[in-house]
Symmetry: C2
């Protein structure tokens, strides 16, 4: 990592908090640890963000905002489903490879605090599936795709992209490979997943 000389205290805190929250979760994170990680006094956390809860929400929203547009993008492009899936899975998996803790962080906390999704919904906005669903339906009717519901296809795409990152330790243990080979497996998935999906749905 490159140190930004003009790093403000606030951004130092956000970076540190992000690091700690992603690894430990809301409950496991300690304010002192975040302060240490940022190299500042613990009171500063409360000076900039009144409470742990508010600091957490700031981090979470920022994190989610970096994640959601990737998903929204696929839904609003005008290319055929097949192209959409290829570019989406490639970009999505590439992105997650660079932020491996992100999916776990997001899902863990969404599960912990279900009202949180409502805040996200109004403050950041969630992807809208309508266009994607219509497009799938149209291509099914045209005979380009085998029958499948847009919702199910969407879930399948996300599942295949994200799942291996949520379960790294377990998969590594079961498949019995080291980090290097696991990363190779993930690299492969950038194209493998698209092939898998398209094989399945192409008429």
């Amino acid at each position: 990592m490159i140190k930004t000389k003009d790093a403000t205290t606030e951004s130092l805190i956000l970076e540190a908090a992000n690091k700690v929250f992603q690894r430990k979760g809301m409950d496991g994170a300690r304010m002192q640890v975040i302060a240490d990680e940022a190299g500042i006094n613990k009171a500063m956390l409360h000076y900039y963000f009144r409470s742990k809860q508010q600091l957490f929400e700031a981090v979470f929203k920022k994190t989610f905002a970096s994640f959601a547009p990737q998903i929204i993008k696929i839904l609003n492009e005008d290319s055929p489903i097949e192209d959409k899936i290829r570019s989406f899975t490639f970009n999505h998996i590439s992105f997650i490879i660079q932020h491996p803790y992100l999916p776990n962080f997001i899902f863990q906390e969404l599960n912990r605090n279900t009202e949180f999704i409502l805040i996200i919904k109004e403050e950041i906005g969630l992807p809208n599936l309508d266009k994607f669903k219509k497009q799938v339906q149209k291509e099914v009717e045209e005979g380009v795709l085998k029958p499948i519901k847009g919702e199910q296809l969407f879930i399948n795409i996300l599942a295949l992209n994200i799942f291996p990152f949520l379960t790294g330790p377990l998969i590594k243990a079961v498949v019995d490979i080291d980090d290097i080979n696991y990363n190779k497996l993930l690299e492969e998935r950038k194209t493998e997943v698209a092939n898998f999906i398209i094989n399945s749905i192409k008429a």
Copy 2:
């Protein structure tokens, strides 16, 4: 010590702890809450399980042991891959529908404490992929299946089965459906997922 003598208190604790740990995770769970849930004194938790850590491990191991055999089964049957996938996805998804908090619990804690998987490995045992991989390779060579690696197929199967349960709140919000319709969607997946996979890999 005879187990059957007074299983009530111990099993009350385990049940209560299971409930609380699954919803709150290790860090979020409170011993007092577990005690209240079990309707007993907090000191009893320490009397039966010395510490929170040990109580947690007892619960986790028990939970994992109820989960792993489902996965191990698929790998050691002798039926063709296609049959195996159909019966596995159906049973697996049916099982998870009845234990919806289970996947989140397991993955959350495996991610929190990576050494834990080693304990599991030696005390309960993990599924072995070798047989499954060989079978996939054989069917690919015979031209029954399109080329795919056993590891990737295995990951895909688990991903499609488990993912919707890990991300319920988010998916519900994005797809914009209520619980009843989400459950219908999950029901559909008992057969949909197998079709999706088999469409993809069948030569």
